[in-house]
Amino acid sequence: MAKITMREAISQALMEEMDRDPAVFIMGEEVGVWGGTYAVTKGFYDKYGPDRIKDTPIAENAIIGGAIGAAMVGQRPIAELMTINFAFSAMDYIVNQAAKLRYMFGGQFTLPLVIRAVGGGGRQLGATHSQTPDAIFAHFPGLKVVSPGTPEDAKGLLKSAIRSNDPILFIEHATMYQVRGEVPDGEYTIPIGKSKIQREGGDLTIVTYCKGLELSMKAAEQLSKEGIEAEIVDLRTLRPLDMEPVLESFKKTNRAIVVEEGWKSYGVGSEIVSRIYEEAFDYVDAPIIRVAQKEVPLPYNRTLEQAALPQVADIVAAAKEVLR
């Protein structure tokens, strides 16, 4: 086991898959000469050259549409959106094309496509550049949405995504590239569509993913000092959603909170809570609480931005509330 950063984990996954399969290439804004705006593809341009590391114009439709086309004719493109906020500029390609082309043509087309995108708030980038709109993308059948919370998962899931024959949106978090964690030595993959228990505990279940995992782990530590043991289920994949570990944990604890960075209304938490009520109603001992972003576009001012984002203290308070 080696301890590496999220950035290194993602970078390693990309490199290993590029070395393994010549059909894999990367296209996006500033992925090459610049080395990636988050330095994930630093050194790639020198190693693989401009054919495999394609610096594109600022043209999100051409990036996603182009990657879809290349995938349909047999290549395995990794399209990078500089941030997930620019996915809205390419929404038609993601929603109307990537998610539907296979189904609509009776399975004739295959789209082995990965869209990597950085999301998340907390960097004072203002309302258009700070969003966590993951739930929107998870709404569409035909698209898979992956969003890891640890370096180990990021590496293993990204490798699986690149090998997958379906279009996958892979969402990273802008404030997590320095997060360190153990990753297995040597080759490994992690299956897409499997939730995972990241921490065991018997008092309540915290369902979360990505940035929410980082916050929930910290909250669980604090709770533990007060004698409360939280079990943390990391969704890792938002679609297809694996409810098994969530339900299993909930049937044990009978109390849950859901933590996500995105807005609460119509969010990931809304889905999880409904599913628990639908599938494990008899086990509910307390109303399930959602911890999420306040219902405002994120402001630039640091204090206001932090006030709008879910915090460790909010999770701790919610945990105590469901245990009351």
């Binding site: 610049w34 043209a59 500029s89 203002g126 630039y300 206001l304």
Partner: protein, 318 residues
């Protein structure tokens, strides 16, 4: 142009430069956060351009907007306060560096989605056309923005519908780290306007007088003909794309060469050569700017943070 007006242009360019130099220091000191894109090197573009507008002409630009904001008459105090995220900023601390606007000054923002504001600019002109006035909308954007679909939709619409927009492309050679020749099918960007049958011209963006004259001609055409116009302005940003740009994509020699053509230096020489003002008079302007910027920093630093309940203010009008 009258002497006072010329000196005012000099004042504005120096003001932009000093506000941004201080802004950069405050950023390094951690008092400004987020993305901050400096306009240093490009001051002559918006200064010349906006000097040619009538107050009723609307201005809209991208995130590299401090200079445009100052040229439009937003006080340095408010610009600095917005950079620091204070309640006294023109966007009440919610917008930051990239989102400066003042409806009162007919400055409609600072927009951070590349190319996103171009169809909106066309929309201003639709509104004005509908109101049957002859206001012009001046829409500024970078070279990189001409590669996104928004640009093409907006240009096409403006020509088809006869909208009064002056499209101004600030060609500063790069969109982040990608040079125009690596990203655009044509390096003379105004050829794209040619494709839409739009009247166009180019101007030296390091020379404020050249920009001013080109803008005057363009604005007169747009107003009179009720047609859009495309102005390509050649310029260069002396600093990185934003704070913390590793600048691996360009050589320091290239940057130095452009810096020898400093727009403020060029204009200073012009004013001295024409004997419009003495060196002493220009130095005095610089001293005054220094003082104004000091005051702006003090104003910003002593201004209150937005109140916590303002988090929920201004989400909806109703």
């Amino acid at each position: 142009m009258k002497k006072e007006q010329l000196l005012d242009l000099y004042y504005q360019m120096v003001l932009i430069r000093r506000v941004e130099e201080r802004g950069a220091e405050l950023y390094q000191a951690g008092k400004i956060g987020g993305f901050m894109h400096l306009y240093i090197g490009q001051e002559a573009v918006s200064t010349g351009l906006i000097a040619a507008r009538e107050p009723r002409d609307r201005v809209i630009t991208a995130y590299r907007d401090h200079g445009v904001a100052l040229n439009c008459g937003i006080p340095a105090n408010e610009v600095m306060a917005e950079l620091l995220g204070k309640a006294t900023g023109m966007s009440k601390g919610k917008g930051g560096s990239m989102h400066m606007a003042s409806v009162e000054k007919n400055m409609w923002g600072g927009h951070a989605i590349v190319g996103g504001h171009l169809p909106v600019a066309a929309g201003f002109a639709i509104g004005d056309q509908y109101a049957k006035n002859d206001n012009v909308t001046i829409c500024m954007f970078g070279d990189g923005a001409t590669n996104i679909g928004y640009f093409h939709e907006a240009l096409n619409l403006s020509k088809t519908w006869g909208l009064r927009v002056l499209w101004v492309c600030e060609n500063n050679v790069y969109g982040m780290g990608t040079s125009v020749e690596r990203a655009s099918a044509v390096t003379d960007i105004r050829q794209k306007a040619e494709g839409y049958g739009m009247k166009n011209a180019d101007a030296n963006g390091m020379d404020v007088m050249a920009v001013y004259e080109a803008a005057q001609e363009a604005l007169a055409y747009v107003r009179k003909e009720g047609q859009p116009y495309f102005l390509e302005v050649d310029t260069y940003r002396f600093r990185g794309h934003s704070m913390g740009d590793p600048e691996r994509y360009r050589k320091q020699d290239e940057v130095k060469k452009w810096q020898e053509n400093d727009p403020i230096g060029i204009f200073r020489k012009y004013l001295l050569d024409k004997k419009t003002a003495s060196a002493k008079a220009l130095d005095e302007i610089e001293d005054n700017v220094e003082e104004e910027v000091n005051k702006a920093v003090e104003f910003a630093e002593t201004s209150p943070e937005p109140a916590l309940e303002d988090l929920y203010a201004d989400i909806y009008a109703d």
